[in-house]
């Protein structure tokens, strides 16, 4: 089929008569689907619910923090709220967010495959996710858990009077959904690429998902077993971590952070992949330094496993280990910096058109830069001694996870929304909400850097009076941020019915996913893709088949 002809037709045409959304109807057709695109939507719906649950918890405890006393809720309720927020946002939103929704939808499309390698495992991963979520929600409804998402022993294993065992079971189960997703991606990327799709022609989104999958597969099981051991200690006094039973609580911190530090890269790497797609598209340029961005993803995934000890600088870890982990943590800055510089350079002499996904991507670059640079602060030993477990840390990781990962997620959702639904979102509202989110985010979290250096510890239901002004700023920002997140929820729903038809390739983007119809047919492509150009051939015509 001639490319030009196809594009002209597609841009005017209504969606194809048969596509993955209307191929069959009914609850069964969704709950038993093995189509990666439908599973992606199942994930989208579930993680959106979790996102607003976690967000609601955050808004509530930010309201509590308007005043220095624990007056809106008791300390116990406050503790349960921040624990719920952390658990839900990390295990049930951020970790599955981009991989399980956008990754699930796009990995086969981008490499020219009909589906993931193991479609049934893919569906299973969603069920596992939901079962894990139900455990955690049950624990929350029965009375909640107050250990913080970090489950530090011996508080979690012995002292806490909340539903720890049920909650860790939930987190444990959900871990397997992440493992199954990672395993599926690894095999799919290795074995299912279309003819001609060499490694160096792959979209960077795929590279970053490959790196992410490695972390999921090699890290998650360690979290799983650590949580099992906590539950065993709690239920059967199988002493591993509790010093009263002879154990060492710091060992838990080692086991926990062996996964949970790399888990940060599970959240941020896919967002980096999204940015690497959006920036070239809207500057109509080949991405600058493709190989450097690609291999820096792998470097981040590998190095990410060598730095967990920086969470233990003041935990009585040995000075020697502190020095080693500080040194290695510094090195993670390098691949991150390489990415930021290359994205910026891609804009140079581009043909830049302003669209919401680009705004999110640029927001990501800026906020991730701040998050990454403050990462150097906390990798620097004496600074970390001072700011460890203060609001400085809270601000730092929210710049990475919200300023980075969620910006990337929203950018990607806008960018591929036309592919997913076949319709365009309303550009004006989208820009407006992007602005609100950017402003709200910075107002929420920038004051927390100052609070942290002043010395306000995190997880405090009550705090000394002099911290109030900055806390009020932060709470005000949180409410703005909350509204910012509600707007897309509304207009995405609206656009599913009323949005204009998008056509196959509304952004004039390269990459295989744009060569098929929007929404794509169940088997993704009407033809067998043959690849003969890079995913970023913005200086060439798109070649298909």
């Amino acid at each position: 089929m001639s490319v030009v002809a196809e594009r002209t037709v597609a841009s005017q045409a209504r969606p194809p008569r048969r596509h993955y959304l209307n191929v069959n109807y009914g609850v069964r057709s969704w709950l038993l689907t093995v189509d990666h695109k439908r599973i992606a939507l199942l994930y989208l719906v579930s993680i959106t619910l979790f996102f607003f649950l976690g967000g609601a918890a955050a808004v509530l405890f930010r309201l509590e923090l308007l005043t220095p006393r624990a007056d809106l809720f008791e300390a116990e309720t406050y503790n349960k709220l921040f624990t719920l927020h952390g658990l839900v946002m990390i295990f049930f939103f951020l970790i599955p967010s981009i991989p399980a929704v956008l990754g699930n939808f796009l990995v086969p499309l981008m490499i020219g495959a009909r589906d993931l390698a193991f479609p049934k495992l893919n569906l299973l991963s969603w069920y596992v996710f939901i079962i894990g979520g139900l455990f955690t929600l049950t624990a929350a409804i029965m009375g909640g858990v107050d250990t913080g998402w970090t489950f530090y022993t011996p508080y979690s294993s012995t002292y806490s009077n909340s539903y720890v065992a049920l909650t860790v079971t939930g987190a444990f189960i959900t871990g397997f959904s992440s493992i199954l997703t990672g395993l599926n991606f690894i095999v799919t990327i290795h074995k299912m690429r279309a003819p001609g799709m060499t490694w160096l022609r792959l979209p960077l989104f795929i590279w970053s998902h490959y790196a992410t999958s490695l972390i999921m597969v090699l890290g998650t099981p360690v979290l799983a077993i650590s949580l099992v051991l906590v539950a065993l200690e709690r239920l059967f006094q199988l002493g591993i971590f509790d010093p009263r039973l002879g154990g060492d609580p710091v060992l838990f911190q080692h086991l926990f952070w062996f996964y949970s530090h790399p888990a940060v890269y599970i959240m941020i790497l896919p967002a980096m992949g999204v940015v690497s797609e959006i920036v070239p598209c809207f500057s109509r340029k080949r991405i600058f330094g493709y190989t450097f961005i690609a291999f820096s993803s792998i470097a981040i995934a590998v190095l990410g496993f060598f730095v967990w000890g920086h969470h233990l600088f003041v935990s009585s870890q040995s000075v020697y280990a502190g020095l080693v982990f500080s040194f290695l943590s510094m090195l993670v800055a390098i691949p991150s910096a390489i990415k930021v510089f290359n994205w910026t350079a891609t804009l140079y002499k581009g043909s830049i058109v302003y669209r919401t996904p680009l705004f999110y991507a640029l927001g990501f670059i800026g906020l991730f830069t701040i998050g990454g640079l403050t990462g150097i602060f906390v990798a620097t030993l004496p600074i970390d001694v001072h700011v460890h477990d203060t609001y400085f840390i809270v601000a730092h990781f929210h710049y990475i996870m919200v300023g980075g990962a969620i910006m990337g997620y929203l950018g990607g959702l806008h960018f591929w929304w036309p592919k997913i639904t076949g319709r365009l979102y309303p550009e004006g509202w989208a820009r407006f909400s992007a602005l609100i989110i950017f402003v709200g985010f910075n107002l929420t979290f920038f004051p927390q850097f100052i609070l942290g250096y002043l010395g306000m510890p995190r997880r405090y239901a009550a705090y000394p009076d002099e911290f109030q002004v900055l806390n009020v700023m932060s709470s005000a920002g949180a409410s703005i941020l909350g509204i910012g997140y509600l707007i897309p929820l509304i207009y995405f729903f609206w656009s599913m019915r009323y949005g204009p038809y998008a056509g196959a390739n509304p952004w004039d983007a390269r990459g295989l996913e744009w060569t098929t119809a929007s929404p794509p047919p169940t088997d993704n492509f009407e033809y067998k893709p043959q690849v003969s150009q890079s995913a970023y051939a913005y200086d060439e015509e798109q070649k298909v088949g």
């Binding site: 710091v250 233990l312 020697y320 080693v324």
Partner: protein, 93 residues
Amino acid sequence: MDSHAAAAQRKTYFLVFGALLVLTLTTTGVAFINLGPLNTPVALAIAMIKAALVMIYFMHLRHSTFLTRVFAGAGLIWLLHFIIFTMSDYLTR
């Protein structure tokens, strides 16, 4: 696979099985001999040989692609890294 090669493969399986049993008895026997600090390294060395035999012959790594071998090794290497870096704290306390 022709019948000759098949017979050879079958024979290999039994040989490996025999070797594994001998090594099991050896490791139990050696445990009762005082080798000073060497008891644990010897026991672990025997365990590694046994594991290698199982992986190479029973799990067919001998006939596997390079990629499969990389993934078979990846888990082990990662575990080794995990152990070494955790011990870097405990041994320098």
